[in-house]
């Protein structure tokens, strides 16, 4: 079973559209994350939730809205997509508590978003 799964794997859409990416983890972790990886492979944190509560909200346009219905799921909704949103988006999870291993993150396979 995949530990952190995100769907879809590929997403091709037109500028101005609204799209969602879903993420689920079956590791029993308390904390989940969304990252954006650009074409230069630079990986940047966008959001983090701990037990459904937002704990990290980096400087991200408010067109991006995370939603966590329960601690096993963290979805990312993007409104009014722009060309610059094209990137690979990764979901990750971690224990969130209990020693240094709490920071070890488990990543999904990524969603490659192409905005045309």
């Amino acid at each position: 079973d995949t530990a952190v799964s995100q769907t879809p794997k590929y997403l091709v859409t037109q500028m101005g559209n609204d799209k969602s990416i879903k993420c689920e983890q079956n590791l029993g972790h308390d904390t989940m994350y969304w990252y954006k990886q650009d074409s230069k492979k630079f990986l940047k944190i966008m959001f983090s939730y701990n037990n459904k509560e937002l704990i990290i909200n980096e400087t991200v346009p408010n067109r991006f809205s995370p939603k966590s219905p329960d601690k096993a799921h963290l979805n990312l909704h993007i409104n009014s997509l722009e060309l610059g949103d094209s990137a690979v988006y990764f979901c990750a999870s971690s224990q969130g508590s209990g020693g240094p291993r709490k920071n070890i993150q488990y990543f999904g396979a990524g969603t490659r978003l192409s905005v045309l």
């Binding site: 952190v4 492979k41 990986l43 940047k44 704990i55 990750a92 920071n103 070890i104 396979a109 990524g110």
Partner: protein, 109 residues
């Protein structure tokens, strides 16, 4: 600005050779991690070294940490073609990880 800078950006070696990647960071840390990313895949955790540790081994991986120089290195011994991937260091800042720029390793058979 990002926490970790990695060096070299790209590295090409033959199978059997050793590969060394370096990471420098800017602020005090509790621990440092290394991750691998295969092409088209997510990151996979390799090893974590605590700030009070100087060296750690895991199989063919050896990680060193020098907190006085704010740097770490990852050594992969006896490399294999399957080691071809990007390697990232990451440091913890509170609840978040700050990733380095990554080293792209190519191992030729």
């Amino acid at each position: 600005s990002q926490q970790g800078e990695e060096d070299p950006q790209a590295l090409s070696i033959q199978e059997g050779e050793n590969a060394t990647m370096n990471c420098s960071y800017k602020t005090s840390i509790n621990n440092l991690q290394w991750y691998r990313q295969n092409s088209g895949r997510g990151l996979v955790h390799l090893i974590l070294i605590r700030s009070n540790e100087r060296e750690k081994h895991s199989g063919r991986l050896r990680v060193t940490l020098d907190t006085s120089k704010k740097s770490s290195s990852l050594l992969i011994t006896a490399s294999r073609a399957a080691d071809t991937a990007s390697y990232f260091c990451a440091t913890s800042q509170g609840d978040k990880l700050i990733f380095g720029t990554g080293t792209r390793l190519q191992v030729f058979p």
